[in-house]
Symmetry: C2
Subunit: 504 residues, 2 copies
């Protein structure tokens, strides 16, 4: 007679393995798969997804889970396992196979229509596909928020927020992002009005690709990324995939004349990777063994990329190394480089936006998504609403849909409620960094000597090692001593604009 907890963990470990196999096949598709392999790969992934889904809805899993629930002490790890498993299974069980299949098909068609529409720089060919995706998403959210369902009583948009950021609700997120937009809009205007502009040539030089990789790799290793348990490969876009804490993979891309895309891309992904590599080993392959939310994950990448990697102290240590590594970049000077790394100039494309304005792009998407699922906006009116929001928020006017409403891939795959996690990551990163500073003392002196271990260990202790034991909001509160707010992040943004634009 197998003990139910033991049996539950065996069943869950196999579900986790199937997820890791799918993750590895996706990584391979982005990095190494021969270009004709896509059809077979899609079928293979569909098979694994089907096997995994069947395991998630199997009666034995449900039974053992409920027997675990009956014997879980409050506050125990088992109680957390039960909470997370119920959350995950609650979502899975709510979505009928018919709907999941329709969504997968609509996402495939949506991605195709979006690619064509973006090439034609015209929203019209994408509109029917997006309407279908929104309709199915509304249906999904309706099921998830119906009486008796896991998110009963919540609004439709909450169903998507909760998927990526468990526990997040539109009211709280709206307050945080509202505060942010209210302060950032005048700050960005003040920067523009200051008349100062960083020298766009301040980071230019000749950067041999293999040296870019070696340089960024060395810094990632110094941050603590363990290459015995990870690697970096080239890919069309940078990402981080973890298949358990002993196998964490980053990707990168480069510009031969500008070190920034490769360097900050790798530092960003290394931040994700540090989280993955330091998840709790004793809870691997269990419901609480993984990262707790996308926002917390993003906080780790943003912290290492922006709060460490763009700091003056970091560059005091890194710039001589950069000069030694790249003879063709000896002209890069600290006092010209730093303003460029803290630019705040409105731009139309989110993925190319600077740190100073990035969150305003997210605020626009949040506002539109919220309206779409509150029934205040229809897909047909989205392009006009987009343009109006960009004019109001960033003072810019897209020339066409490719520069506007069609720029991001997310909606084309039916991913709603994802964008806010980027900005939540910024807020969490700033609050964590302020707390670390308050406890560890002046980090700048350490960074200037290339010492990052105290910060990494602090993050390991406060964030990484907890996996999903605590819900995200609780984890942040415990790590920093208070609930998440936009205060630390706004203080940073103001300090940057003061320092580099002389205003605010």
């Amino acid at each position: 007679m197998v003990e139910p907890v033991e049996r539950f963990l065996v069943l869950w470990a196999e579900i986790a393995d199937l997820g890791h196999a799918m993750g590895l096949l996706s990584w391979d598709q982005e990095t190494h798969m021969p270009r004709a392999g896509g059809g077979a790969r899609a079928r293979l992934q569909a098979t694994l997804a089907g096997v995994r889904h069947a395991r998630l809805v199997a009666p034995e899993l449900e039974e053992t889970l409920e027997r675990c629930a009956a014997r879980a002490e409050p506050e125990s790890a088992l109680a957390a396992q039960v909470r997370e498993a119920r959350r995950i299974l609650g979502r899975v069980r709510c979505i009928p196979e018919r709907l999941a299949r329709a969504q997968a098909e609509a996402a495939a068609a949506g991605h195709e229509a979006w690619t064509a529409a973006r090439a034609a720089r015209d929203f019209a060919p994408f509109r029917p596909a997006l309407e279908r995706l929104v309709q199915l998403a509304r249906e999904e959210a309706g099921l998830l928020t119906a009486p008796g369902a896991p998110l009963a009583g919540c609004g439709l948009y909450d169903a998507f927020l909760d998927e990526h950021e468990p526990g997040a609700r539109v009211g709280d997120v709206g307050l945080l992002l509202g505060d942010l937009a209210r302060e950032l809009v005048p700050l960005v205007r003040a920067a523009a009005a200051s008349g100062r502009r960083p020298d766009p040539g301040a980071a230019r030089g000749e950067f041999a690709p293999e040296r870019q990789l070696a340089f960024a790799r060395e810094i990632a290793e110094r941050f603590g990324f363990d290459f015995a348990r990870g690697r970096i490969d080239a890919a069309p876009h940078p990402f981080c995939s973890g298949f358990g804490r002993d196998d964490v993979r980053l990707t990168w891309r480069y510009d031969a004349h500008d070190l920034r895309p490769a360097l900050f891309g790798i530092l960003h992904e290394a931040g994700h990777g540090l989280y993955e590599q330091n998840l709790p080993s004793e809870w691997q392959r269990t419901p609480i063994g993984g990262a707790v939310s996308l926002g917390v994950h993003e906080s780790q990448s943003r912290l290492w990329e922006n709060l460490v990697g763009r700091s003056r102290a970091f560059w005091i240590w890194a710039l001589p190394r950069l000069h030694a590594s790249f003879p063709g970049a000896r002209g890069i000077a600290l006092d010209a480089l730093l303003p460029l790394l803290h630019t705040a100039e409105p731009s139309l494309i989110r993925v190319e936006a600077d740190q100073g304005t990035y969150d305003l792009h997210v605020c626009v998407r949040f506002e539109l998504e919220r309206a779409l699922f509150a029934g205040e906006l229809e897909v047909a009116d989205l392009p006009a609403a987009w343009d109006e929001a960009y004019a109001r928020t960033l003072g810019l006017h897209p020339r066409d849909a490719a520069e506007g409403v069609l720029q991001d891939i997310h909606w084309s795959m039916g991913a709603f409620g994802y964008f806010p996690t980027y900005t939540l990551g910024n807020l969490i990163a700033a609050q964590l960094f302020a707390a670390a500073r308050a406890e560890l003392g002046e980090l700048d002196a350490l960074f200037a000597r290339g010492e990052f271990r105290p910060l990494r260990e602090w993050l390991g202790e406060r964030i990484h090692r907890h996996g999903s034991f605590h819900p995200a909001a609780e984890l942040v509160r415990r790590a920093t001593g208070r609930a998440l707010s936009s205060a630390d992040y706004l203080a940073q943004r103001r300090a940057d604009v003061r320092e580099y634009y002389g205003v605010a």
Copy 2:
């Protein structure tokens, strides 16, 4: 109501996908996995193997298979599907889970004991592990050959031969290998007695690794390997893995001072790869969609590596290209290189053996494996039997077990009956090549102009496109007009010794 054939093919396609996922994870482990990832990877593979096994033994598969059998016309593709599925399932169903698990554990322990024993150059520490492996293998073979079992009436060793070379039996294989040894032993002696020795420096030069890859890759492409559906990566040992015909991967390794390991390694694997890439597209993910046997697979690699890649005609075309690619290898001359590529000098290590003596290494292993499973030899007596066989066959005496009985990995993992397929591959390759020549006319004139398409298309037509529709022996008979014999291969061996040693 789903039609049973349709349902059977869906079930089998998912089983094939699970196998492909496992194959890709193995490929990744050999090529890219971070070194600490092995533990998690082993668990992941065990999960996938368990899922696949459960699908293979599921009653629904058996039921739909028998309903397919009832409606399959003789000689039809469906009849072949039924035949292959029954063969595969017959083996799987015969092995109780307890035995499969014990074998997996014994193989893991065996591999560890073998590694340690080889390092100590002493058979003793490996002996208990090998005894356990042989005992379990005898048990497995006993089940497979018991009355009512798939191989009822066969000998124990047949059970292993049949696993790798379906339909092969110890009597037939023994006849082929016996003929071969009888002729090769005096031939190799005559070569040694000739007093001629090829110049071991005739292939030496400076070969930058990335150019080695580019050079071999260009030839593989010229042979017809499609890089839109395949790739080459570095790995500790060369192999070919296919995950469907649109995703076929080769690996390579190199010696910076000798082009041969990389070049012939890649040409060999490209031969395997051409088979995989040209398997029948309409039967992908079905029981007859894959390669029919290891011997036939090996015939494709040996044919391109040896019969094309070592031929004078090929080098008339390739040598100027080699000189142009490697300024540090301009001294390599056709008339010194060719004898070196057709050496026949007894050596102790199989994987380093030349083409002229390679099969004698296989004959020794076949003789010993056959005796082990005929009850004529015990593990304790294996080292002495090994040394006696090497003295008799190759006239050589290993200094210790590392140079002798411990050299190959196969037994340490419980793989018996695998070695003969290497030599069957040589025999099949020679017979196919002779048949192609008889039909296509003088291939040498084509090779000397770098034209390989007629040969590749002939192989595609006669071998690749059939998948496992015909059993291997039947496929060879149809392709060449007669049953497999050692005649063509021996004629080749004699011609080589005559040409390069002036004897025989």
